[in-house]
Symmetry: C2
Subunit: 449 residues, 2 copies
């Protein structure tokens, strides 16, 4: 089977999606609202999503590893969330003011994460990271933000730097060209070079913000010594250490990765899982830092640091879905994390073996329940950074993900890591490995072996 | 009755809210996630919201004019929305990919708004305005953004300038101090001075963005000649004219205010109403502008302008609620807008009369179904700008709103304009006017008359 014939197969199975896509391009630039959701020849249109499945408008069923941008740790439309939403939608979707459900969700987060002495809700992850760096600047009275190369913290203008390869080029048109003046980018997992760069801007450095696992840039865990080294540098120099855990929060354990790693970040940003499938962003942190945003006890009447909020912040639907999710996970946390972490290992091991059986040089990266297969090239022997990922055979990865989708009903958003939910099971992982074997047998990836 | 005794009355009626607030300050800085939601002595905690009512956890019932930050034009939990959400929550809250409901909502917006030749969904209004100015910079290759003094476009760093009085002071700590380098602020409703300022930065001017009715800054309609003058200036000089209609979109008519005013903006931002009570932001505009964000037809392979998107963009819950809302309004648009616009007139006229009966100098501003009472001072004879509002007797306004809430079960978020929904009726407006009369009789506002 050739890749072209696979393309034809996909088209044959998705005539309604093709027709919807043709409508969609009349409404949205490129037919999408989020660029990463486009793939060739056109994305399938989802009709419903239940448990581990996406079902498209042509009736095709996919085992979903994209899982709502990795947010849906309990799978799509889990009963515990649906039941609570069912009653909440009748009692209001947007109070526009304070409510007890926010306290419950806030408490759940703070009880689980030592760093979260105080927190604020907003509506998206992009907002959360924007607020976190605003806090850092407010508290330190310094201006430079340090991020890692390939680090993705959402679309906010402040952090749209060094996201995509080639990392030194402006992230898209429409910026002033000056946004980078106060952003320093350091190489992920390279402590020595990172510290050299940090030293060069130390006098005006407000914070380091980084993902403990690079998410969008290729599912690459930070080495623990790298994290510890950066944290130590921060503590020594009065710089804020911020973990962006929008992806990793409540993904590996009930709370923050900082607990298992014995880290002590000043601020943590959250999103995805804690919203239970509804829009959320969270910035949480040490009391003395968070309090600079408190308008009530603002004695010197200086302007405070504006963080959190927005029309939809703390809306009762998100609060309800988030609380239902965290409450369920808390009560079943051992079973849940044991299960999905083990399935993650099974996927990484199974995929590594099958690729190696076919003589392909790949590396299945990730940790716990998130994973991604990179096709190594002559230039890359090991994946340690976003730069390594950029030099992989990413065309092969696209073909691999597309093959899984078109022929085997297994959905990864092309190029993006997969997330295992409670709704997945061992058979699903076995099926993924077997499907990978069949794809390799058919030599459809066009890789040498 | 004194204001202190009114405070006591409020406390007596809200013991559970007091206790929740005491919990809340342990979780959130100031006990809130959004600063404007705090008022003294503490805000009541909402338990449910149905139709025109907010019901707090002590069982107090308020006729709500805050209406979810003015988003809920059909009232809280309208049947048409609940019915659709009821089925959607069982079919997925976050597909993470494309879906037909987005097309339906997108089409509804584009059919109603001529400017909306193409659009993108995001999750909040703050994101929408951020993307709009990014587009303007991308298309014009210029850098300066012009906004009006007092104009509120959300919490994004790019537009956090000249929002609060005194307008020339930085909007809160935590900025670099350089954000204002590329923002020029012009006086609202003063065309001559505005154009002078525009002329001074014309060579690097990318766009003008403004609200056709200042929302957060005091419910002040732009004079039509002001809007036309700015638009004409933009067209003449190759500058983008952007209307921020997050508040006004679908508020006065089925679509944009630009249609009734015969304006032709290049871009429009939307939010609030079009989300049907769920989180949304929209940037829509002329095809040739919006297309610079199209990754599919990007022939020269330059980086495109990144706009729209985010994990929660186009999520099926928001799309469902938004479409249900717009579809219902479209089918009943004559009745709906006649009704709520008429109720708005009734409120403005009734309040103007009652205050004048008591010899108070006030001005009830607004248009259509939004309105706000300003207590004029010796320095202000007429409200035309945010600066005028800053010089009003805002302490009196707070006491007025608090009195309505504590004694008469009528809720305005203190200082903020009110929005009338389909769920309100003539009796509600009459009650508001009568309650105002009683408050004035009791002389509780401490104003002279």
């Amino acid at each position: 089977m050739t890749f072209n014939s696979l393309n034809d197969l996909y088209k044959k199975k998705t005539p309604r999606s093709r027709s919807s896509y043709n409508e969609s391009v009349k409404i949205f630039p490129g037919g999408i609202s989020h660029n990463i959701r486009f793939f060739r020849p056109y994305p399938f249109f989802v009709k419903k999503a239940i448990g581990k499945h996406l079902i498209d408008i042509d009736g095709n069923k996919y085992v979903d590893y994209w899982m709502g941008h990795w947010a849906l740790i309990l799978g799509h439309s889990p009963n515990v969330v649906v039941k609570k939403l069912d009653s909440q939608i009748r009692q209001g979707t947007l109070y526009g003011t304070v409510n007890d459900i926010s306290i419950k969700l806030g408490e759940s987060i703070s009880n689980a994460i030592p760093t979260s002495e105080l927190l604020r809700f907003c509506t998206t992850g992009s907002e959360a990271t924007m607020y976190a760096i605003r806090l850092a600047r407010a508290v330190t009275k310094k201006r430079i933000i340090c991020k890692t190369i390939g680090g993705w913290h959402g679309f906010n203008t402040d952090l749209m730097q060094s996201v995509n390869y080639p990392f030194e080029v402006d992230e898209g048109v429409g910026m002033t060209g000056r946004e980078g003046d106060f952003v320093e980018s350091i190489p992920f997992n390279d402590l020595e070079r990172s510290i050299k760069l940090l030293d060069s801007v130390k006098d005006d450095l407000a914070c380091i913000i980084l993902e403990p696992v690079l998410g969008g840039a290729g599912c690459i865990p930070a080495e623990i010594d790298y994290l510890k080294g950066l944290e130590e540098y921060c503590k020594r120099n009065g710089i804020l250490f911020i973990l962006d855990e929008i992806v990793t929060g409540f993904r590996f354990n009930f709370g923050s990765i900082s607990t298992s790693y014995h880290l002590d970040p000043d601020l943590i940003t959250l999103g995805k899982i804690v919203g239970g499938g509804l829009p959320i962003g969270v910035v949480c942190g040490k009391k003395e830092i968070m309090q600079v945003s408190n308008p009530v006890e603002n004695k010197n009447k200086e302007r405070i640091c504006y963080i959190g909020g927005g029309t939809f912040s703390s809306n009762p639907l998100t609060m309800t879905a988030g609380y239902a999710t965290l409450d369920y996970i808390r009560k079943n946390r051992k079973t849940i994390y044991n299960k999905i972490n083990k399935l993650g290992d099974m996927a990484r091991n199974g995929l590594t073996k099958i690729f190696s059986d076919f003589g392909l040089k790949i590396q299945v990266v990730g940790m716990g329940s998130i994973f991604l297969t990179h096709f190594l090239s002559n230039d890359v022997k090991e994946i340690k950074s976003a730069s390594d990922v950029a030099l992989c055979d990413n065309a092969a990865l696209t073909r691999y993900h597309f093959s899984l989708m078109a022929k085997h009903g297994i959905f990864f958003l092309p190029h993006k890591m997969g997330a295992i939910s409670v709704a997945h099971n061992e058979t699903d992982i076995q099926n993924l490995v077997n499907a990978t074997g069949k794809i390799l047998e058919s030599n459809i990836l066009g890789t040498k072996h």
